[in-house]
């Protein structure tokens, strides 16, 4: 199992992030419709962003040994009253199948539970993305249902599978 660390995004990460979000195989399972921001614009936004807060944690996932970025992860729409958020995670093209995704998903959940004091983390995954689903299940996510024909992609409707994990069911 690969060890990872999470760190804040830096302007120098922009080119890498843009290349990942433009990668056809990565975006096959991602819910973005439009191409990413140009790297220069993204770098300026990262540089201008205020310090990370409860509202929008967004991380570079780095190999714990080399400290090289291997992916990206974010926690979205946290609710202080209902104490939940949603999660998005991406492993760089060429680095899949090494356990980075599982380690990153677990670390993001730990961050949500141990630091942000949330109790529930949810995510959506396309039904055919079996590798991702297996990762989420290993971490403790349980399927809560299927949102029918919720997403138009590549000229066809797609369902979205909803999953969630709780503080006391994270593995």
């Amino acid at each position: 199992m690969s060890e990872i660390v999470l760190r804040a995004r830096e302007p120098e990460d922009a080119a890498l992030l843009t290349s990942w979000f433009a990668d056809a195989e990565t975006m096959r399972w991602w819910d973005r419709v439009y191409p990413p921001l140009p790297a220069e614009t993204l770098a300026a936004r990262i540089a201008a962003a205020p310090i990370m807060t409860f509202a929008d944690p967004s991380f570079m996932v780095c190999d714990a040994g080399t400290r090289e970025p291997v992916g990206w992860g974010g926690l979205h729409a946290p609710s202080p009253e209902h104490r939940h958020c949603s999660l998005g995670v991406l492993v760089a093209p060429g680095l899949r199948g090494r356990g980075y995704g599982e380690a990153a998903t677990r670390a993001l959940c730990r961050f949500a539970f141990d630091r942000m004091n949330l109790v529930r983390v949810s995510l959506v995954v396309f039904p055919g993305n079996d590798a991702a689903r297996r990762v989420y299940e290993r971490v403790g996510f349980v399927e809560e249902g299927v949102q029918r024909r919720a997403f138009w992609k590549r000229g066809a409707w797609h369902d979205l599978v909803h999953m969630a994990v709780f503080r006391d069911t994270l593995r």
């Binding site: 209902h82 529930r120 949810s122 809560e144 029918r148 024909r149 919720a150 138009w152 969630a164 709780f166």
Partner: protein, 171 residues
């Protein structure tokens, strides 16, 4: 205006505000809604612009008397995926349990499909709000996702259903 059989759905007007304030102050009417805080005097927002794509907040009027009895609408419209979330509140207790809510929902969904050209209408409802869930199912909504313990209401966790309706399912 959008005509149902017992209700009319029309744009919000400044003259609705005194009625709406009574609904917002009604604990029974507000128990299962998303907003947990006491309402500000201007909480019933009357748009200053003509209604258009994106957010369509409407006042529900009793067709016979012309009296405002609640509000309903469509929001979070996604043009690529052609879906929206809907909501309904029959604020006037005298009009609850008499079919006004059902007529409102049916009329709102017909408007969503026939006029706005949405492909799907979705809603979020607290699972313990059994009367509402039954009403939505009567109209044709299907329970797609049950988010476990996703809502904190009056000191307890509640499940939440994501329900969806396609045009061919509307009854």
């Amino acid at each position: 205006m959008i005509a149902g059989s017992r209700v009319v759905l029309r744009e919000r007007r400044p003259s609705d505000v005194p009625y709406a304030q009574a609904w917002l102050d009604d604990v029974d009417a507000m128990r299962w809604t998303l907003h947990p805080y006491p309402a500000a005097p201007d909480a019933y927002d009357v748009p200053g612009e003509p209604l258009s794509w994106g957010l369509v907040p409407l006042t529900v009027v009793d067709a016979e008397s012309g009296r405002p009895i609640g509000h309903a609408g469509l929001g979070d419209m996604v043009p690529e995926h052609r879906r929206a979330l809907c909501w309904i509140v029959i604020g006037d207790a005298a009009f609850r349990g008499r079919g006004y809510g059902e007529d409102t929902m049916r009329t709102l969904c017909r408007f969503a499909f026939e006029t706005v050209n949405l492909a799907k209408v979705e809603l979020e409802v607290v699972a313990d709000n059994a009367a509402a869930v039954r009403l939505y199912e009567r109209i044709g909504f299907v329970r797609e996702v049950t988010r476990r313990r996703a809502r904190w209401i009056e000191g307890a966790w509640h499940d939440e259903h994501l329900m969806g309706l396609f045009p061919e399912e509307l009854r």
